[in-house]
Homo-oligomer: 238 residues x 2
DNA sequence: CGGCATATTGAAAACTATCAACGGCAGTGG
DNA sequence: CCACTGCCGTTGATAGTTTTCAATATGCCG
C-alpha cells in the first residue's frame, strides 16, 4: 500500500478518468473522491488482490495493469469470471454480504486505487452526482456480464471475446492499432469455458486466414468484418 | 395500467416483500415506496413489457407471474438473458443510457409494479436505507448473472439451471414440494445456449433415472445430490 | 375437431475435448 | 554462461459430446 500523493496519482489527472468513477465529475466532486481514495495497492504479476470468501473491506479501481477474477469449482478447474483493466471497478458484485465472492489476481504488474467500502457508501448518500455515476457503473457492469453469455459455438465465443477486448483496449489507447493481451490462452479458455487447445486452434485458423495477427500476446485485428463473420462459420478445417 | 390501490396491492402487505425493494424497510420507508409506486401493469401471456432499444422510463417489479428477457441475434435466434419471478426488478442493466437493452415478454399472465425511473433515482438521493437496499439488489443481480456462466457441459447447465430455479421458486413458496416451470423447453434451450433436443434428452434421462419428475411443466426434484452429481457425468447414454 | 406449438426420440453429421507429443522461451541455479 | 525446468503455445489423432435433420407424439386453444 502506498499513498496516492506520494505516487502523484489523482483522479483529476488520471488517464482513465473517463472510464472510472470520476467520469464527467466537477472539480468539487473529484475533490471528494480524492479525499476518500488515498491509497494505492501495488501487485506483482500473479500476486493476489483478494481471496474468495474473505471479508470485503474495499472496492478497487484498476489504475494500471490488469487482473483476473475467478473461482475454483468442485473439479478443481479455475473458472474465470472477469478480466479487469484500467478504469474498471473490482468488487461491486460482492457488496451484498460484504464477502468476496471471487478471488482476484494480477495478470501483470498492477496498481489499484483503494476505495474503502463503508466510507464510499456514506459518500453515495451525500453526493447525488457520484451516486448517479456509480449506478451507471453498476448498470454497465451488468451489460458487460451479459455480453458474452450469448455466444454458443467456440468460434463465436472467440470472435466475441476478441472484438470485445479489442474495443475495451481501444477505449484506453484510442490511437493504437494493436493491443496487448495480458492473459494467457489458458486464461482465455478458462474464461470462455472451452478447452485451451480449441482456443489455440481457432487462433491459428484466424491467423492463417489473415483475419488477425497474434504473436507474443500482441493482437491486431486486420479484418473486423471477417472476424464477426467467422463467429457464424464452421469449426476450422485445415 | 391499473392503480395499486384499486387492486389492493401495497409493499407492506406484499407476499414477496422480503425479496424486493421493501425488504427490511421500516414503515416510513415503505410509505415512501408506496408513494412512488402507484401503478400496476397487467400483461397477458406472451404480451410484451418492453422492446429492445426503446427509451427506458420505468423499472418494474414482478408482483405475480413471470417474464423472459431476450434479444434477437444476427441469425434470428432468440437469446434469453434472464427469467424474472415475483420480487425481481426488471431493467436495472438499462439504467445507463436510459434505453432498453433487451426485450421482455410475459411467460404467463403477469402483474408488475411500475417504478418511474427518474423519481426513483431522486428517492435514492434522499433515502439512504432504500439506497442501501437498491445497491444490494444490484449486487445480487450481478451474483445471479455470473452464476450460470460457469457450467461447461450441457449436463452441468441443466443441473445448475434446475437447482437454481428450484431454489428461487422455493424462496417464494417455502412450503411447496414442487415447482411450476413457466417457460418452455425451447426457452430453456435459448437461455442455456444449447439445442432444445439436447435439453429434452437430458430431461428424459433425469426422469428415467428418477432424479426428477417433470410433467406438464410441474417439476419435482427427488434426489438433489444425484442432480448435482449428474452435472459432472457423461452425456446420457441410453 | 383442426391446427399449431411443444415435446420426444433416432440416426447421422458436426463440433469440441482429451490424450499425446513437441517447440520455444524465460527464469533459475550451478 | 549454459543446462535444466517449467510454463505456454502448437498440432495431430482419437474419443466423446452436442447439434442437426427427420419423423412421430402430445397437448392446448379457438
Amino acid at each position: 500500500m502506498k499513498s496516492r500523493l506520494a505516487l502523484n496519482i489523482g483522479c483529476s489527472k488520471c488517464s482513465v478518468r473517463h472510464l472510472c468513477l470520476a467520469s464527467n465529475l466537477e472539480d468539487k466532486d473529484i475533490l471528494e473522491l480524492n479525499n476518500l481514495i488515498t491509497l494505492v495497492k501495488c501487485l506483482a504479476k500473479n500476486e493476489h488482490l483478494s481471496t474468495m470468501n474473505t471479508p470485503l473491506q474495499n472496492l478497487y479501481a484498476v489504475y494500471k495493469g490488469s487482473c483476473k477474477e475467478y473461482w475454483i469449482n468442485e473439479k478443481g478447474d479455475e473458472c474465470i469470471t472477469n478480466f479487469y483493466f484500467p478504469g474498471d471497478i473490482i468488487g461491486i458484485e460482492s457488496v451484498e454480504g460484504r464477502k468476496h465472492l471471487f478471488s482476484v489476481s494480477a495478470l501483470e504488474e498492477t496498481r489499484l486505487c483503494v476505495i474503502p467500502i463503508e466510507r464510499f457508501l456514506e459518500l453515495l448518500n451525500n453526493n447525488p452526482t457520484i451516486l448517479r455515476r456509480f449506478l451507471s457503473i453498476n448498470s454497465l457492469k451488468m451489460q458487460n456480464d451479459q455480453s458474452l453469455k450469448m455466444s454458443i459455438t467456440a468460434n463465436e465465443k472467440i470472435s466475441d471475446f476478441l472484438l470485445h477486448i479489442y474495443h475495451r483496449m481501444l477505449e484506453r489507447h484510442p490511437d493504437s492499432k494493436e493491443v496487448r493481451l495480458a492473459m494467457s490462452q489458458l486464461d482465455i479458455s478458462n474464461y470462455l469455458g472451452i478447452a485451451y487447445e480449441t482456443v489455440n486452434r481457432i487462433f491459428s485458423h484466424l491467423k492463417r486466414k489473415r483475419i488477425i495477427s497474434l504473436k507474443n500476446k500482441i493482437l491486431k485485428i486486420h479484418d473486423q468484418n471477417a472476424l464477426e463473420e467467422s463467429g457464424r462459420l464452421d469449426y476450422p478445417k485445415l
